[in-house]
Point group: none
Chain length 179, copies 4
């Protein structure tokens, strides 16, 4: 028996859960799958997370955090007077170009929130924080909310439809919205 004392095992379990969900979807989250991924005994996952929902919420929280941290970094990196439309287009382009499973996970999070009360606050907070970050660059909060909605909708459509990214078109739309 290695690893009897293992202080950040709980953390490692959450990370494993994030990987499981990222790779195979929310529906694939199970104590067993996570235990295998984290290389810990099954009993360990149920010990640290009494129900599967507890683990789900933690995984979802961490996923949202990573996404939000990325967004915040993007925002901090923008030059002071940079034209927002161009920056946003870059953000979208980058999100679509990279590993899509992170992005897909974001929408699974939203979908999960619709049915599972435990997930809902996490998703709501995520939307709120996204809006707050965008709000640092928009004239007012209403514009930030609209921009956030447009971004969410655009990314979702691109993911679903598989259409190639239409840079100019997206730029135009963003520009109209936050002008």
């Amino acid at each position: 028996m290695p690893r009897r004392y293992d202080p950040d095992r709980r953390d490692r379990i959450v990370e494993a859960a994030v990987r499981v969900v990222g790779a195979r979807g929310l529906g694939a989250l199970s104590h067993r799958a996570v235990a295998a991924e984290a290389d810990v005994p099954l009993g360990s996952t149920t010990y640290h997370f009494a129900t599967l929902d507890d683990l789900l919420v933690e995984a979802v929280r961490r996923t949202a955090r990573e996404w939000l941290d990325g967004l915040a970094a993007w925002e901090r990196g923008l030059p002071a007077g940079a034209p927002l439309a161009d920056a946003v287009v870059d953000l979208v382009a980058e999100a679509l170009a990279g590993d899509r499973s992170r992005l897909e996970l974001e929408y699974e999070l939203y979908a999960a929130a619709l049915r599972r009360p435990a997930v809902r606050p996490v998703a709501a907070a995520c939307v709120e924080e996204m809006t707050a970050v965008l709000g640092r660059r928009t004239p007012d909060a209403a514009a930030a909310r609209a921009l956030c909605a447009l971004l969410d909708g655009l990314l979702l459509q691109y993911l679903v439809s598989g259409r190639p990214f239409a840079r100019a078109e997206v730029r135009e739309a963003v520009a109209r919205l936050v002008g």
Copy 2:
């Protein structure tokens, strides 16, 4: 043994699947649940739909059809020169006011499409048709796509966040986008 001969049994199964999915989410779709809802033996659902994916796709297709038919009806009902922004705001308000499970299902459909290849074409076609319908009232296709994205994003945010519907704000955003 009552119902030995039963035409349109297949249809009743699909309808039951739509009800199951609408009431308890895509994750609750199972041969068992559908059989119980349709009041047919378990074997009957697997006879008509060899795999669960077949049934899922059929249910999802029908759900999307209902949503799209509603949208088309809304569009047909608009007066010729009606201001689009107001009409769109009404549409959103109505969607949020009524039974939300139909709407929630729409987003589960999108999320499912991200992971299940079989669902993807259905979701893609749905986005396309929504855009086409909106396109009858926008200056060009690009505006329709942007509007569609905004609508999808807005509805998603309202569903997730539970914020009260801000009529003026939404109107403003739509107006900016489609002039």
Copy 3:
């Protein structure tokens, strides 16, 4: 509906059953698998073969027939005074060199005979006929029976163990047995 009148459909079903069993083993024999392989409706297989056992026996009979026909052809092709040991070695070598699924099927037939009364007579007749064919080249019936047993045992061992064929060794054993 094509093919309403189809006189040798029964035959085609049996052939399909042989293919199914040859490719995936006796355990994979099912009305459905055969119907798919023969490209006939499911009801057609149950119409021509009331129970699965009927179909199994027919398939097994045909398999044995093919094997026995091959054996008989080999025997007829032997020169009058040919040394038996060499001829037998060639037979074994050829059986092991070609498509092994035919051979494997032969042993599944035997195994099936041990548990299924319906198959037993077919297997027994197969052994008997093999012995009769070999008997045309051995001094007496006892030698034929022993040779048949040795062949069956050798082929089985080679199939199971995967050892390379040891020509000289087999020749020696056969020679001792049938002089």
Copy 4:
């Protein structure tokens, strides 16, 4: 809920599997059948043996072991200079006289090995060990292999054909082979 704590439950499951397979054939091996025979809940068999193949292999291994132990005991019991032919005839006679299900199982094992990769090594090792045991009484390894094949073939034929055991004939054949 009686038996909540039950060490060597795993062992009892394997034993039950051996009984099921012995009584009704390899084809009758199922989680359900074994669970019933071992008087444990169904979930218990799947807990200890994740797939049916795992259980099959274990059962088959144990069956082969018993057979090989019997063979080894027979060999150890032979007087030093005993004539091999007579001893072998006794062995065959005994095998055919007793409970045949053990013997039948042996051939099902071979047949299973032909189709299931997981079983193959067990069957191959069984052949090898049989040959090794016989080799202690034969002039060389080649003779042992031939004798083993003859034995396997003979027993198979007797099982399949139901012919009465012909003592003198078998003795003659063995004598020719191992001199």
